[in-house]
């Protein structure tokens, strides 16, 4: 999986978790929380959807790695690769 594909995975998840947000102009290098109204309940859902859909576990200590789409791609792409995706 490429980093761009990882970003798309994240966008798909966020679009389900916070379907009332506008996703058309998300900047990959800016914190998601600075662009979208996401609270801690929403972040927990994103982590849980990652587990449900892709079997990827994100330990609580590593939640900050999911701050922006770029950081998600850096952090998650090796995890997808480790799963053979």
């Amino acid at each position: 999986m490429t980093k761009e594909e990882t970003k798309q995975v994240m966008i798909d998840i966020i679009a389900d978790v916070a379907s009332d947000e506008d996703f058309t102009n998300i900047k990959p290098d800016v914190r998601l929380r600075d662009q979208l109204e996401l609270d801690s309940m929403d972040f927990l859902d994103i982590v849980m959807e990652l587990r449900k859909r892709h079997n990827i576990e994100v330990p609580e200590a590593e939640y900050p790695q999911l701050a922006s789409l770029d950081s998600c791609a850096e952090y998650l792409t090796p995890k997808f690769e480790a799963l053979g995706k």
Partner: protein, 478 residues
């Protein structure tokens, strides 16, 4: 068909298919838990359900959905709920209230209008209580900044807090009347956190209703639950929770069948859940049964209430006494205060109107005084109080003569604390449950949790959020 492939073990058993139980079920099933809801009644909804009589569908409970905010307003309970349950807001088909009122005095001499725009309420208070508007502004600021979803807040008297900002007893009572009627399980006073939740739900957010009433919301919930893979068994109550030491192992159904579970989420109330644990857990009962129950009269009209001369009010909270007395009625009913609801007076899409007029009136009642009546006396008491309640409420509406009202009435119905007890199994017919709330949903057993009314989030949005929060907190995060 939910009944054919029933299992004898679940990750989570949910007791009760009310708003909180089904909302919890959606979360749990969505995230892969094997979950089943057991409901003693034949319909979902619990305290917020509906029934049919002579071809008409009647809502019970819901006057209006509180916590309404318009699209684009973020971070409020309604938005959180929709996100957590993956519901698109259009699915609830919400139409906003037209205008509501708090009317005090023998026939509503002091009146405060409010709508879903909070400025209307502020300007009404500035008009009727000019000396109090600064204090009111500070109270609102304290409410806005209060952390009402904290699960560990210490209880504080709402009366004491409100008094510290509002120096006029009548205004104080006019703020408490709607807030208490729409959610307080406690007489006279309430916990400030609960007051904050309800004040926001009623005044800072607002009222709305689906054209077809509460069943629209219940249908959305039931569909989501089924689509997520949740199971439910109706007419199938739980009579006992079985445990060994500190953990529950199973539930025993009314049929005698035993269902094992890793977690049990009970939406049936604090005292009611303690009774389910009674035979196996020796800890003393800690939750008092709620003292507050209600009667409601329902009058079906052959025209819109507006056409009869009653205007456009959506909800009217009324009180005729010098001090508003939110306590169990001394007699069967206390007609001095109450709530009038006209479900017709929401701004439905495309100017649609309900096919018939509906005039609902709710007053405080006394469970014991209704409970002790023989059936014949019970029917007579209903007939007697129906007239008294209607007459009391009509003092706060434009005058419509008795003859006109009688000529245009198609049907009536009434529920009492006995009806509430029969259909919801809430002890004492206590709609808002026990005055003791368990914010963290803990019980005597480590894997039995409460959700719903006695967890302490209020209103139907609160009920659903309660189920969601408890499912998240105790099970999904675990």
């Amino acid at each position: 068909m939910d009944y054919l492939n029933t299992s004898s073990h679940y990750d989570v058993v949910i007791i009760g298919a009310g708003m909180s139980g089904v909302a919890a079920g959606i979360r749990l099933a969505h995230f892969g838990q094997k979950v089943c809801i057991f409901e003693r009644h034949n319909a979902v909804g619990g305290l917020n359900s509906f029934y049919s009589q002579s071809g008409r569908k009647f809502d019970v409970g819901l006057h209006a959905l509180t916590n309404f905010v318009r699209p684009g307003v973020k971070g409020t309970p309604l938005t959180k709920l929709l996100r957590q349950l993956r519901i698109q807001r259009d699915e609830f088909q919400l139409a906003e209230q037209k205008r509501s009122r708090v009317a005090f005095g023998p026939s509503g001499e002091v009146s405060l209008n409010f709508t879903n725009d909070f400025e209307v309420f502020e300007s009404e208070i500035a008009r009727a209580f000019p000396a109090q508007i600064d204090g009111f502004g500070k109270l609102v600021e304290a409410i806005r900044t209060y952390d009402d979803v904290s699960l560990g807040a210490q209880p504080v008297s709402a009366r004491a807090v409100v008094k510290s900002f509002i120096g006029d007893a009548q205004l104080e009572d006019m703020l408490f009347c709607p807030v208490m009627y729409y959610g307080s399980a406690q007489e006279r006073d309430m916990e400030f956190g609960q007051f904050v939740i309800m004040f926001k739900a009623l005044f800072l957010e607002g009222f709305a209703r689906p054209f077809d009433g509460v069943r629209v919301i219940l249908r959305v919930l039931a569909d989501k639950y089924r689509a997520a893979g949740g199971e439910r068994r109706m007419k199938c109550g739980v009579r006992k929770i079985i445990s060994t030491q500190e953990r529950a192992t199973a539930v025993e159904l009314d049929t005698g069948e035993v269902i094992t579970a890793n977690h049990i989420l009970s939406s049936v109330g604090g005292p009611e859940t303690e009774q389910l644990l009674e035979s196996t857990v020796t800890t003393a009962h800690t939750s008092p049964v709620g003292a507050l129950s209600f009667v409601e009269t329902i009058t079906i009209l052959n025209q819109q209430p507006r056409e009869l001369g009653w205007g456009d009010d959506t909800i009217v909270f009324f009180n005729d006494s010098e001090r508003f007395d939110y306590t169990a009625a001394q007699d069967q009913v206390d007609p001095r205060s109450g709530v009038i609801c006209f479900p017709n007076n929401f701004a439905y899409a495309d100017g649609q109107e309900l096919p018939e007029g509906v005039f609902r009136c709710t007053c405080l009642a006394n469970y014991g005084e209704w409970k002790r009546l023989e059936e014949r006396d019970y029917q007579a008491a209903k007939a007697c109080w129906f007239g008294i309640m209607q007459a009391s409420a009509r003092r706060f509406l434009p005058t419509v003569s008795n003859e006109t009202l009688a000529q245009n009435t198609l049907a009536t119905d009434m529920f009492t604390p006995r009806t509430v007890e029969k259909f919801t199994r809430h002890f004492g017919g206590a709609i808002y449950g026990s005055p003791l709330k368990h914010r963290q949903g803990r019980t005597a057993l480590e894997n039995v949790y409460l959700c719903g009314t006695d967890q302490g989030f209020l209103g139907i949005i609160g009920a659903m959020l309660s189920g969601i929060s408890m499912a998240n907190y105790h099970i999904l995060r675990g």
